[in-house]
Symmetry: C2
């Protein structure tokens, strides 16, 4: 068991809570209370954590691993909305009304989650109004990201979007190296395509182009090396 550094007897719970920014405002004794109402779950790669249309009665916190949130069209086309990783959470929308999940979430790797029932989450907020504000903050951040994503889809060309995605992944899943940044991609080519709203063949071609231009190098299907960060930012429209 991993040492949590608090000498408590709820280490695994505490670890989970400490990873989530919305609980930062609370002190240890409050956290211990919350820890006791947490339910732990594990999922294998490819397993479904929640399913669009199902009743969603809990808030789920990512404790380990990463997952994708997506929707299907009736014709079977998948649109990925988010890639969640450690510390992210979902299910907090529609906290009062027990509505149906608006997207599905699937484990991209082995995943551990912590769950809190919505009913209990609500009383937490009544008890600690500051947590309500924290959640509003967090939702606000998510909205801003979503708004940016929408703008991206609307006005940026495909090259810019792919480059931007690589840079995002580099921030979240990259490690520096003397040759550049090694990025472990959480999504397959098809996943990236479904995230960007383009065909998977187009992803292949565009990545191939970036490789020809010496900007990136594919190490294997799951990782690439960013050799020329600057150029990538220029293509992404983040630098001039």
């Amino acid at each position: 068991m991993i040492e949590c550094g608090h000498g408590c007897n709820h280490c695994s719970d505490q670890l989970c809570l400490h990873k989530v920014p919305i609980f930062n405002a609370l002190d240890e004794s409050d956290l211990e209370k919350i820890a006791s109402i947490i339910i732990h779950r594990e999922y294998k790669k490819g397993e479904t954590i929640i399913m669009e249309g199902e009743k969603s009665e809990s808030v789920v916190i990512m404790h380990e691993g990463s997952s994708k949130a997506y929707k299907y069209t009736p014709e079977g086309r998948e649109q990925i909305l988010y890639v969640f990783s450690e510390g992210d959470f979902f299910g907090e929308t529609n906290l009062l009304r027990n509505q149906l999940a608006t997207f599905s979430v699937e484990a991209l790797q082995p995943v551990k989650t912590c769950m809190i029932m919505k009913s209990q989450f609500q009383s937490l907020i009544q008890q600690y109004p500051i947590m309500g504000i924290k959640i509003i903050e967090d939702l606000g951040d998510r909205m801003v990201r979503l708004e940016n994503a929408l703008q991206s889809m609307g006005v940026r060309n495909v090259d810019a979007r792919i480059s931007g995605l690589l840079l995002d992944f580099a921030n979240k899943y990259g490690s520096n190296d003397k040759k550049g940044t090694v990025v472990h991609l959480p999504l397959s080519r098809e996943g990236m395509a479904n995230y960007l709203g383009i065909a998977r063949e187009t992803v292949s071609r565009k990545l191939g182009q970036l490789e020809n231009d010496g900007i990136i190098q594919t190490l294997n299907n799951k990782s690439i090396l960013i050799k020329d960060d600057e150029s990538l930012k220029v293509i992404a429209g983040e630098l001039y």
Copy 2:
């Protein structure tokens, strides 16, 4: 002055508050307190209500008229994120941190707004935790709409997106008629194009096509008649 039906002396304020669902949970005496901290503003068509990048220190409630929220790329391409109308509000994201506005808002018609300073909004939430939950609900709804919009951009073809937009507008701004639904468009062709992330010429062409097919009829630049609701829904992918 319009009669508000409460025999109070803050009618115009009360009207404003009564239009906003998040205040539904409060009783009259609470509402009166809130009414006293509201600031009223009016804008002409084309005026900017908030500007992306400016400090955003208040929550703005639409009281009359409609407005568009949009972002510009450095190259000057506009992406419209929302069309706000009566009862909608914005600026509630980033309630704690006084961050910069992430989008601009411009009046599409003469607009009246009610503003509450963020600092005061925060203490409202501390005082009425239920309001925090209401806002979380509202943000959740907005997120769902945004997620749907993102999916739309990603996987639906242009015909489906235009048809879907017309149906949305019909819901919000349409009135039934024996010949069909007359829709008063809040956006120009260019506006619709910037909302859907396509060229304005494409909007013209697609609307022309719908007219040729007898599904709609353009009455003038600002209003259309939906003659065949069913077909429109089929094209939008909402019906089979």
